[in-house]
């Protein structure tokens, strides 16, 4: 017989290794421990939805600001309407 077969055959008649008799108890206690640690999926969804909503709002505001043009913010617009901007030739004393 080939020597390599001899080595490979060393596993013949091998018995299955047995786990600790306390495996079940350990698994169940580990499961309870992880269940306590885990946040409820409901809260994960709520947090994620809030974040997405916040991002979407920011995006909408950014797009709106872009459409208005870079120099026309509300304060400037009001100043221009009241004639308070620097370009206005009328001076108030």
């Amino acid at each position: 017989m080939n020597h390599t077969d001899d080595i490979e055959n060393s596993l013949d008649g091998i018995r299955r290794a047995e786990a600790s008799p306390y495996l079940t108890a350990k698994v169940l206690s580990r499961l309870q421990a992880t269940a306590k640690q885990l946040t409820s999926p409901r809260w994960v969804y709520i947090t994620a939805s809030c974040l997405i909503l916040l991002l979407a709002l920011n995006l909408v505001l950014l797009i709106k600001a872009e459409k208005r043009g870079p120099h026309h913010n509300d304060a400037e617009l009001m100043a221009r309407q009241l004639g308070l901007d620097n370009d206005n030739p009328v001076s108030y004393h």
């Binding site: 020597h3 080595i7 060393s10 290794a17 047995e18 786990a19 350990k26 698994v27 169940l28 499961l31």
Partner: protein, 192 residues
């Protein structure tokens, strides 16, 4: 209790069903993990992890395969992940040792592994085989462990690994060829 009822109870979170599955498949999972990681303490820890993962993800079990097949698959995946992490840490420790002032870390030098189920007269030869087995590619190692240690048929291994039966056959052929190549120096040394 048939498997469908058992899975239904598991999905409901029935503690008795959990215990039943661990009692039924605990040794199979432990033995598979032990064959792959070759350390009793790590295998015990992994077996617990596997069952926790099984119960946490039981809702994603569709019943297309047998429950035992699914659990074997998780055991293989977790064990291989564990080995990858261990290898990464080992590599990092080796790099660290290149710098002066670092203490030598011997925790990664694996001692010879003696499987508790091997016959006494085969212990030494089996330890040599396990050492060579540790150097095989992941899929060959998994197929070999499932076939030799768990005595699964090629068809069952194919289901666990998600391969065709012919692919498993070819994996086993390559595993044996690689083992012969790896064990060659051992024979040459012992023949002289």
């Amino acid at each position: 209790m048939n498997e469908q009822n058992l899975v239904a109870l598991l999905k409901e979170g029935d503690q008795q069903a959990y215990a039943c599955v661990v009692d039924e498949l605990g040794n199979a999972v432990y033995n598979t993990c032990l064959g792959l990681v070759q350390n009793a303490h790590d295998a015990e820890d992994l077996a617990q992890e596997v069952f926790v993962a099984v119960f946490k993800h039981i809702h994603s079990f569709r019943g297309e395969a047998k429950l035992s097949t699914w659990i074997y698959r998780i055991a293989i995946t977790r064990s291989l992940e564990f080995l990858r992490t261990k290898k990464r840490k080992k590599r990092f420790a080796l790099i660290q040792q290149l710098f002066p002032g670092t203490e030598r870390d011997n925790t990664f030098i694996a001692p010879a592994f003696y499987h508790p189920g091997v016959k006494l007269e085969n212990k030494e030869r089996a330890a040599v085989l396990f050492k060579a087995l540790d150097q095989l590619p992941e899929n060959q190692k998994s197929a070999f462990v499932l076939h030799k240690l768990e005595e699964l048929s090629y068809a069952e291994i194919a289901e666990v690994l998600g391969l065709s039966i012919s692919a498993v056959e070819s994996l086993m052929v390559r595993a044996r060829q690689n083992l012969r190549r790896l064990l060659q120096p051992y024979y040459e040394k012992n023949e002289v």
